[in-house]
C-alpha cells in the first residue's frame, strides 16, 4: 500500500539512500524529474544530482551529516538532471534509524519548484521597478513642465538616478522647464547640494531650466550656513510659486515666438 503511494505520487521524487548517500530505491516521479531510470541510478551516489562546484565544496557530505545529526535537513537550491539541465529544487532529507538508534539510511524527498522560483524572481523584479519609480518620480504636470517631487533623504545613489532619469525625461518630452521639489527632503548637506547643482547644470546643457521649489526656512538656513552658492539657481519657497514661475517662462517663450511670426 505504501509502496503504491510512493510509486504513484507525482511531483515528489522519493528516494531511499544508504548511510553513504547511495541510492537504494527510486520512484516514478524521481525518474520523471531527474531523468535517470531506476536501473541506471540505484547504487550510485546522490552527488550526481548536484552541480559540480557544490559537490567540490562538500555540500553532499555536509547535508548527510546535518541530517544524521539533527534528524532532518531541508534545502532549496540548484539540482542537475541526467541531461545536465538544472532545476530549482526543494529537498528534504530525513535520517532513518534502526530500533537500536543506529543509522540505517536516509529518505530524500525532492520537489521541482523552478516555477515558483521564477514567479518569485518576477515579483522581486517588479518590486524593484516600483521602488525605482518611487525613488525618483518624474511626472509631466503641464505641457513643457516636468515635476520631480523628492521625498526622503537624498543619498548619492539617489541623486545619480535623479540626474539620469530627469535628463532622459527632459529629452523625451522636450520639456523646457523642470520643477525640482524638495519639500519632502528633511535635510540637505554640502554633498547633496553639490549633486543638485550638478544635475541642474546638466539639465541646462540640454537646453532646459530647473526651478528648485519647496525651499523651507530650515533648508534655506542650512544652505546659507553651509556656504552653498545657489545664486545661479532659480528657487522658490513653494511648489505653487515655482509652477507660476515656470508658466511665466513658457509664456514668455510663446509670446516671443508669436512676435517673431508677426514681424
Amino acid at each position: 500500500m505504501l509502496r503504491l503511494l510512493v510509486d504513484s505520487v507525482r511531483d515528489y521524487a522519493i528516494i531511499m539512500l544508504d548511510t553513504e548517500g547511495r541510492v537504494l530505491s527510486w520512484n516514478n516521479a524521481a525518474e520523471q524529474l531527474k531523468g535517470w531510470k531506476a536501473g541506471e541510478i540505484i547504487g550510485q551516489s546522490i552527488a550526481k544530482f548536484y552541480p559540480a562546484e557544490e559537490v567540490a565544496r562538500g555540500k553532499v557530505e555536509n547535508e548527510l551529516r546535518v541530517a544524521a545529526k539533527e534528524g532532518r535537513f531541508e534545502d532549496e537550491g540548484w539540482r542537475v538532471r541526467k541531461d545536465g539541465s538544472r532545476f530549482w529544487a526543494n529537498v528534504v532529507l530525513t535520517a532513518l534509524r534502526h530500533p537500536d538508534g543506529s543509522l540505517r539510511g536516509y529518505g530524500k524527498v525532492t520537489r521541482d519548484i523552478s516555477q515558483r522560483k521564477a514567479n518569485e524572481e518576477k515579483i522581486k523584479q517588479q518590486a524593484q521597478e516600483i521602488f525605482e519609480m518611487a525613488v525618483v518620480p518624474v511626472v509631466q504636470v503641464w505641457e513643457g513642465i516636468l515635476l520631480v517631487p523628492l521625498i526622503g533623504v537624498l543619498d548619492s545613489m539617489r541623486t545619480q538616478q535623479l540626474m539620469e532619469r530627469l535628463l532622459h525625461r527632459v529629452t523625451e518630452t522636450s520639456s523646457p522647464v523642470a520643477l525640482l521639489d524638495i519639500t519632502g527632503v528633511p535635510t540637505i548637506d554640502t554633498q547633496t547640494a553639490q549633486h543638485l547643482i550638478e544635475t541642474i547644470s546638466a539639465v541646462r546643457l540640454l537646453g532646459a531650466e530647473v526651478i528648485l521649489t519647496g525651499v523651507r526656512p530650515a533648508i534655506a538656513q542650512s544652505l546659507v550656513h553651509l556656504g552653498v552658492d545657489l545664486s545661479s539657481v532659480a528657487s522658490r519657497a513653494s511648489l505653487a510659486a515655482g509652477l507660476r514661475t515656470a508658466l511665466g517662462l513658457l509664456n514668455q517663450t510663446i509670446a516671443a515666438a508669436k512676435d517673431q511670426a508677426h514681424a
Binding site: 540626474m163 539620469e164 535628463l167 532622459h168 527632459v170 529629452t171 522636450s174 520639456s175 523646457p176 550638478e198 547644470s201 546638466a202 539639465v203 541646462r204 546643457l205 540640454l206 537646453g207 532646459a208 545664486s231 514668455q252 517663450t253 516671443a256 515666438a257 512676435d259 517673431q260
Partner: protein
C-alpha cells in the same frame, strides 16, 4: 574630413549640424568654417545642433567653448541644441561650464531663443 559639416545661413542665423562621430580635423574645420561665415554674413547667432553626437571628448568640448567665445567677440551668440543626456552627464562630470553659451532642446526652440534679446551678462545686482 571637413566636407562632413555644412554651415547653413538662414536670415541672420548660422545653422550647423554636427555629424555623429566628429574627428579632430572635423572639429577644427568647424571653427574655421563658422568664423569665416560670421565674417562674411555678420550673423547674429550660431545654432549648433549636436543631437547626433553621442560622445563628448575634451577637445570637442574645448573647441565648442572657444568657438562660442570667438563668435561672441565677433558680435554673435551661440546656442547649443539637442545635447543628449549621456553627453550632458559627461560634460558635467568634466566640469564643463557653458559660460556665455545658451542652450535649447531643439532647433525650433533655438530659433525662439535667438529671436529674444540676449540675456544680460551676469548683471545681477550683488551687494
Amino acid at each position: 574630413m571637413s566636407t562632413a559639416i555644412s554651415v547653413i545661413k538662414v536670415r541672420d542665423i548660422l545653422l550647423v549640424t554636427m555629424p555623429p562621430d566628429p574627428d579632430d580635423s572635423t572639429i577644427a574645420a568647424l571653427q574655421e568654417r563658422v568664423l569665416a561665415a560670421m565674417e562674411r554674413h555678420g550673423s547674429a547667432a550660431l545654432i549648433l545642433d549636436i543631437a547626433e553626437v553621442d560622445t563628448l571628448d575634451s577637445f570637442f568640448a574645448r573647441t565648442v567653448a572657444e568657438t562660442a567665445q570667438m563668435v561672441t567677440l565677433m558680435g554673435g551668440r551661440t546656442i547649443i541644441v539637442g545635447m543628449q543626456p549621456a553627453v550632458a552627464i559627461t560634460a558635467t562630470q568634466m566640469g564643463l561650464t557653458l559660460g556665455e553659451i545658451e542652450t535649447a532642446l531643439n532647433v525650433d526652440r533655438a530659433l525662439d531663443v535667438a529671436a529674444m534679446p540676449a540675456p544680460q551678462k551676469h548683471r545681477k545686482v550683488r551687494r
